[in-house]
Subunit: 239 residues, 2 copies
């Protein structure tokens, strides 16, 4: 549901009508009770707020919910990186927990006991050795990949590829269909991509499933742009 | 004795007369019996050969002895490195004994479990990551130094500094004095410098005693050039 609000109604003043939300959640196979519970929880946790406007409820992100969505968006919607993007290696003086935490917090990825890789814009603690990367061997590219997420990226790639083939045969999609499609894509993508730091393009194996997913997510979200909220309301009323 | 032959008589056809050798060894505080035993052993091991010419013996390096001296000379007599000399870091895929041996054999110095540093002209096994070095932090310079030799380099630096001060007050030195002086310097320097790979200049701490020794050895050997063999014979006959 957060993926859905983040994708469709992240702007200030944006709200989703109750009936539109119900239609989308139903299309996503979420039962009405489960949907009501989720809404209740997200309101309690400060993510969402609801207002009655006449006979219908309007739901929207709170200021905090909007801020958190906005923080995650650059990563979720980032275009696939340029595979010639430069990278750097950072070597620490010691095997310390503090430098390890600082480097991970700056998006660096550990590849050997005291060496990390990351993008050129990452800042390392000042006592570290920073070396500009060059043509990386294959094992280093693999070492930088989030190995634990490999099965999930493989599965997502299979699902996205099947989805793309199905969509090629689909003639018409209205605003609601597109909202559902985008919500499915964004939800499954964000679940993985937010679990690990971004790999610098120059270290990415072109056939890594995480990168192949990125290409497909980007292509699909561009091919099916975010529908306007009034188009969603109209499609919901027409259905 | 090998330092002495390597320094004074490394050229093809060069020989040192028995009386000259005895005089130099005596000046080095080597007793005549010890000197005779050393000569005997080095002949048996194929380093030296002796010929009678009239009443005196002439001693010279064998072809093998000359080859071994020539192999060590570039390192022993190398000028001090330029401290801006570039260097590289090599990172191996695994913590393997084979890559470790190959890298050490190529003159690379281990600094973390899988990272090595060395000069740009060193060749790493092809599956390694090679990164061109940049401004190194102090801990990396220290990590590249041969820590086990630190006390000996400190001691040599003390001795060389004292020697330099003494020499400043010395008015005249003949060819034999200079041969003895060079032999002392070369012998003590080679004992340390041949025990570790050369550090790339860009990684050397200017105040590292190994580097300070190098500066003094180089300055002294230039100030007191290798005497010609006939001058040694003449000085020995005159004495």
């Amino acid at each position: 549901m957060i993926s859905l609000f983040g994708d469709l109604a992240q702007g200030s003043g944006h709200a989703i009508d109750g009936p539109v939300l119900s239609t989308i959640m139903a299309a996503l196979d979420v039962r009405p009770e489960a949907s009501r519970v989720a809404l209740h929880r997200l309101r309690n946790d400060g993510w969402l707020q609801s207002h009655k406007v006449g006979r219908i409820s309007q739901h929207s992100l709170t200021a905090q919910g909007r801020a958190e969505s906005a923080a995650a968006s650059p990563r979720i919607y980032a275009p696939p990186p340029d595979l010639s993007e430069p990278w750097q290696m950072i070597v620490t003086e010691e095997n310390g927990r503090q430098s390890d935490m600082a480097l991970r917090a700056s998006g660096f990825i550990p590849v050997t006991p005291r060496a990390y890789v990351g993008r050129m814009d990452g800042t390392a603690p000042k006592d570290c050795l920073a070396l500009r990367g060059d043509a990386p061997p294959d094992w280093l590219r693999r070492a930088a990949e989030p190995a634990a997420l490999q099965p999930e990226y493989d599965a997502l790639l299979g699902a996205l590829s099947a989805l793309e083939r199905t969509l090629a045969d689909t003639r018409h999609m209205n605003a609601l269909d597109i909202a559902v499609l985008r919500c499915l894509i964004v939800h499954n993508w964000r679940r993985l991509v937010l679990k690990h730091p971004p790999l610098p393009g120059g270290l990415i194996r072109p056939d890594w499933s995480g990168y192949q997913c990125h290409l497909l997510v980007d292509a699909l979200l561009q091919r099916y742009p975010r529908p306007a909220l009034q188009d969603l309301a109209a499609a919901s009323a027409a259905g």
